[in-house]
């Protein structure tokens, strides 16, 4: 007997799922740019494929990044993913023991215990082939069930799993997860009933079967139990393409495409569609998002991505994000949440026009120098920072020119963050001409926002872009600037665009350690908090911004430092308004604590500040 009617819900569900997946995948491939399609094709034959397979194994099955966040959370996800995967693989191998090595129809291994009652195998006989499989299959089922128990606990005790808040799922997802959760208990019941009657089960199912035989009429219940098991599988497969569990097949594709070197590109496009479906709505991004403090939990990455996937246009939701990148850092799937946000905004703001033709008269006149300094709009709003930098240049006897001395053209990053890439590129073009005309070797900027976009969008020939904190560190290392220690206890705040955005953590700290006693902060470096003043957000009001600012100040001031040092004029300005602690930019504290260089170099011609 190799067929029974009850396999139909599972079998038809699986067929349906496969058809839907093939249709969806072909549509995404059709949407791809030709160059991306070539890249994706080439990746199949490259050595990188091994790396991709390894990453898929580590992330999709083992859930390594989940483990890093919280071991219990990692175990829960791993038990479902790896456990189920091994059940399928082992089940398939086991079925071949009984079919003489042939490949069986897909339902056969899944419902093997219904079709085969191998009474030759003794309980706990694990050194023969059928015995080994029987033992291992029960062990794997127990493994998955242990994850299920944890998943149930997570409903009410999410703090054990390192989650203060969990995702509020919609009713469709609830249906889907219910069917998923019921699959494994149903399998246990069906196999136990069968084992209770035929005594062909392993250590788990046999024991349970014997116990249940004493309590329940197994002969009557066994067939409905198999039907229920099959139905749950069917329901899960049919709901999968529209539920959050679409992440199971899609994440694999995402990892493959990412490793093939394909980037997000235009929005909406096939890559963004794949990213949206790769989100498992695990909710890891919710706790890390500071929007919670402002009462805007609804605009955290998980809900934002869900709204995009459901094609609900919600401008408010799209614009309520400080683009600090904490969710990007936390996301176990590595979805480019910020890129998606910019993409959604580009659709929202597509009607916003720009005309910067008035700038053209001003671009030609740039002085030439070794170093070009760009204070940026925010640098101009904090004159202390600007003046400190000029003092530092003078002290270190640098041949520099101050590009935006008479006011700056914006770098383009704010427009880019609002999804207005085309407008931003006009400003990029204007600034590029001005910068290249200076023939400088180094571009120093005081604003991390400018720094980020200079690195990502500008083609500045051989000009090296440096944030002023990095440049000061360079001057100190080269001996051009000597710092003297001041008796202050300081903490350093990593600006989002400089830290997470550009990966600069050590240089400002190196400089600060020479001046002040630097204490650690509980949330620093990649986990650094946003000051709340971010230009990434478009619609938050001041009250909400202040709540976020005060929360961050609270964390920064835990060790009761004398002074808070940051490296971003916008962070400085935002923290200053909190009136909680004295705030200084790194340039300011350096300018105040410079002593004479050990040896005086030959004076070069100076350009007056």
């Amino acid at each position: 007997m190799t067929f029974d009617l009850f396999v139909l819900p599972f079998f038809l569900g699986l067929l349906f799922l496969l058809v839907v997946l093939v249709v969806k995948y072909s549509r995404w491939i059709a949407m791809m740019d030709v160059s991306d399609r070539v890249k994706a094709g080439m990746a199949l034959f490259s050595v990188g494929l091994l790396k991709t397979v390894k990453e898929i194994f580590m992330e999709s099955l083992l859930h390594r990044r989940m483990f890093r966040r919280n071991p219990l959370l990692g175990y829960m996800h791993m038990s479902f993913a790896l456990g189920w995967f091994l059940l399928i693989v082992m089940g398939n191998l086991e079925s071949r023991v009984y079919s003489g090595g042939h490949i069986n129809p897909p339902y056969y291994p899944i419902f093997l215990k219904f079709f085969i009652h191998d009474k030759r195998v003794l309980p706990f006989e694990i050194f023969t082939l059928p015995g080994f499989f029987r033992f291992i299959m029960d062990l794997l089922l127990l493994y998955v069930l242990s994850g299920l128990v944890l998943a149930l606990f997570k409903r009410t005790r999410s703090k054990w799993f390192g989650l203060k808040r969990t995702t509020q799922h919609n009713s469709f997802d609830k249906w889907s997860i219910t069917s998923l959760w019921l699959i494994f208990p149903m399998r246990l019941l069906a196999e136990s009933f069968t084992a209770g009657i035929y005594h062909g089960g392993g250590f788990l199912t046999n024991t349970m079967g014997s116990i249940l035989a004493a309590l329940l009429p197994e002969q009557i219940l066994v067939y409905p139990a198999w039907w229920a098991y099959s139905t749950m599988l069917g329901v899960f497969f049919v709901t999968l393409p529209w539920s959050r569990f679409m992440h199971i097949p899609t994440e694999i594709v995402l990892i493959y495409l990412r490793n093939a070197g394909i980037e997000q590109g235009k929005y909406p496009g096939s890559f963004s569609e794949i990213e949206l479906r790769s989100c498992p709505r695990c909710g890891v991004c919710i706790d890390v998002c500071q929007m919670n403090q402002a009462g805007l939990t609804g605009s955290t990455a998980v809900y934002f991505i869900r709204s995009l996937r459901e094609q609900r246009t919600d401008t408010q939701l799209n614009s309520n994000c400080m683009m600090c990148g904490r969710c990007l850092e936390a996301c176990p799937v590595g979805i480019d949440t910020l890129g998606l946000r910019v993409g959604a905004r580009s659709v929202d703001n597509q009607l916003v026009a720009s005309d910067f033709s008035y700038l053209r008269k001003k671009t030609a006149d740039s002085k030439t120098a070794e170093v070009v300094y760009f204070a940026g709009c925010m640098g101009h709003l904090t004159p202390g920072v600007k003046q400190a930098m000029l003092r530092i240049f003078k002290k270190a006897q640098i041949d520099y020119t101050f590009l935006d001395e008479d006011g700056s053209i914006c770098c383009g990053r704010p427009l880019k963050l609002a999804g207005l890439q085309e407008s931003a590129s006009k400003l990029v073009a204007e600034n590029t001409v001005k910068l290249v005309n200076t023939k400088a070797k180094i571009l120093v900027t005081s604003c991390p926002i400018c720094y980020k976009v200079f690195n990502s969008d500008y083609q500045l020939e051989s000009m090296q872009v440096m944030h002023h904190s990095v440049y000061i560190d360079k001057l100190v290392t080269e001996g051009k600037l000597v710092l003297r220690p001041a008796k202050v206890k300081a903490v350093y705040h990593d600006p989002c665009e400089l830290g997470r955005g550009s990966g600069i953590y050590e240089q400002p700290r190196n400089v600060l350690k020479q001046i002040a006693e630097l204490s650690d902060v509980t949330e620093e470096r990649v986990n650094s908090l946003c000051c709340g003043g971010s230009i990434g957000d478009l619609s938050m009001n001041t009250t909400q911004r202040n709540v976020i600012r005060d929360g961050t100040l609270g964390v920064l001031c835990e060790s009761q430092p004398d002074i808070l040092v940051t490296a971003c004029p916008l962070c400085k300005k935002t923290f200053d308004s909190g009136n909680m602690i004295k705030v200084k930019d790194i340039a300011e504290i350096v300018a105040e604590n410079m002593s004479f260089p050990k040896f005086q170099e030959k004076t070069t011609t100076l350009v007056d500040p």
Partner: protein, 115 residues
């Protein structure tokens, strides 16, 4: 008025009477609904004083808001397109008007209202 016709040593100035009833007030209502902090503006002009674009051209957010409130929205879209969205105005605003979103909303409202 043709300027060549002026020969008497004095000029005709354009009529600056504002026919409030004839003007388009819908745009202002749409923008205020999308960005309520528009209603906080006291026309102090801090935004115009610090404006990056204002250094190169006569762009003034204060004027834009005045015209918007009066309903003189005819050439406003050309004016608003000069903004670089740098956010300096938002930081100096004493009334905490969310100027960046305001500009986006004005631009969107004007473009969608255009026939």
């Amino acid at each position: 008025m043709n300027k060549k016709a002026i020969i008497f040593g004095y000029t005709f100035t354009r009529d600056r009477q504002i026919d409030f009833d004839a003007n388009n007030h819908d745009i202002c209502k749409i923008v205020a609904a999308a960005e309520p902090s528009l209603n906080l503006c006291i026309s102090c002009g801090s935004c115009a004083a610090t404006c990056s674009a204002g250094l190169f051209t006569d762009f003034s957010l204060r004027q834009v808001i005045l015209l918007l409130r009066r309903g003189e929205t005819k050439d406003l879209d050309k004016e608003i397109s000069k903004c670089m969205l740098c956010g300096k105005c938002q930081l100096v605003c004493p009334r905490n008007v969310n100027t960046r979103n305001l500009i986006l909303q004005i631009s969107k409202a004007l473009t969608s209202a255009r026939p």
